[in-house]
Amino acid sequence: MVSQTRREFLKLGLAAAASAAAASGIEIPLLGNQNSNLQNQLNSANTQVTNLKTKLNTVTGFVSLNISEQALLESIVETIIPSDSTGPGAKEAGVIYFIDRALAGDYGQSANMFMDAPHNPPGIPASAGPLKVKPSSAWAFLQNYQQTAYLPAGGGGGAGAANPISYPGASRTYTAGGTNYTVVYGVTASPRVGSGINYQYPVNMREFWRISLAALQAYSNKYYSGNYQTLSSANQLQVLKDLWANTPKTQTNPPPPADDLTGFSNILPSDFAYELTFMTWAGFLMDPLYGGNQNMVGWDYVGFNGVNFGNFYGEGLDQKTLMVASSPTKLKPASLAQYQQQATGGA
């Protein structure tokens, strides 16, 4: 809680570099070199206390992210969804808590993911040569004719042989409407960002985030001369765009060995950029039960109703009218927790 308090101060610019641990309470530093309006500072500080109290009533505290990750990730999510003139952002929604809980839970554990070997993560340089992959144990249980059948002729391996299949794939020429098209297939043939085959790493999500956050911070220090959270807003956004563009991949020299999963040597930065962006928006817009979208600020922003089907607060509207309307009606959103309370006869 102390460091949380400290960050609030840092954001509002009230505290200078205060290295001593402030136990609690509000520091009201005297800004030594100008006509500081003490009353204004007091007012701001009082507002801060109120905000803090509100925040302490909701979900705070971390179960998975360590201290350096907390500071870093908080900056990242606030870059992706800033608090601005249009409305609240990742901070107010508590996006970082959503991500923290997710990393501690099924998402981080990759509980509902298929994690078997062999793994073929993208981005292994072509100079590494074709990757030889051993067939799985299932191979032995197939009859010979099935083994023959399951290896494409000419696709590597040959009939009947339990040979490895190498990639990247060959090229193929098609004719359509009289025109020849030559297509070179990569292993993943440009998977849509986020599609189910996009993640091919041998580590679970928590590990993926741990490695990637550290790599991002290292990249920020090496190429932007400081920790991410200290960069200017413009540079913070640029670092993320660099990830999307896979820029860090070209900037490790010399590249680490292929099976070393540190840094962005074997993790595509754009894969992490996707994960960051996706989870930030999820933290903004998923049900508050999961730690984000606190006070439903995210739903309020996008105009989503949650579980309010038109009469949750006694508005007297119903789905059959709302669904055939030709102009929108904004509903005050309701959360799953509220819905469950109501459904089971609670408050």
Binding site: A111, N112, S137, A138, A140, F141, L142, Q143, Q146, A343, T344
Partner: protein
């Protein structure tokens, strides 16, 4: 083709398995075929009926998703409607319309006292391939020694039975009726059906 060799499999661990609850037959709302066919027949024959009529009793409820098991059909109408229905269902008629007053088997429960229930109506009876149908015109109810009630009136709701639209007595009305009679078991059956229909748990 030779049978595939089946490897010695390890039991899988940590794969989420949802508890499965197979419903018991008595929980399922399924109408018996003979009655269903009789309902269809009636629905088709009464399609052009000008008078107000509706399926009542248990059949009216099960078509609205209530978990009851009718063993005959009931129609509620008015006296004029009965004449029209008699004509349309002529070939199935077994008892001509006449004014009847009877006590029904089940008593009302009012302030923990059982009271007999009398009904009177202009009633005719039909037999559709072994399925009984009672048609009541201007049905009135008397509980204990209270006055006779007015003829039951209603605005029908509509349900579909394999593509035939049929009117039924609204569930709301049935609830009021059952409450008045103290038949709370029937009230909760309807509540359960309404809950299932509006995605609320009871």
């Amino acid at each position: 083709m030779p049978v595939l060799v089946v490897p010695d499999k390890a039991k899988p661990l940590n794969i989420p398995v949802f508890q499965s609850r197979i419903p018991k037959p008595e929980e399922l709302v399924v109408l018996d075929k003979p009655l269903l066919e009789a309902t269809l027949e009636v629905g088709n024959l009464l399609k052009e009926c000008k008078a107000k009529w509706a399926l009542a009793g248990d059949i009216g409820e099960i078509l609205n998703g209530v978990n009851v098991q009718p063993d005959h059909l009931t129609i509620l109408s008015n006296v004029v409607g009965c004449e029209e229905i008699n004509k349309k269902l002529e070939r199935f008629q077994v008892v001509a319309s006449r004014h009847v007053e009877t006590q029904i088997r089940r008593n009302a429960e009012v302030e923990a006292k059982p009271l007999p229930i009398m009904i009177k109506s202009y009633r005719s009876q039909f037999n559709l391939s072994g399925q009984r149908l009672n048609v009541h015109g201007d049905l009135r109810i008397k509980v204990g020694d209270w006055d006779w009630g007015d003829p039951l009136d209603y605005e029908p709701e509509y349900v579909y039975v394999i593509g035939v639209k049929v009117p039924v007595i609204p569930l709301e009305l049935k609830i009021q009726l059952y409450r008045g009679l103290g038949w709370y078991d029937r009230v909760s059956k309807i509540h359960a059906a309404m809950a299932r229909r509006h995605h609320k748990i009871v």
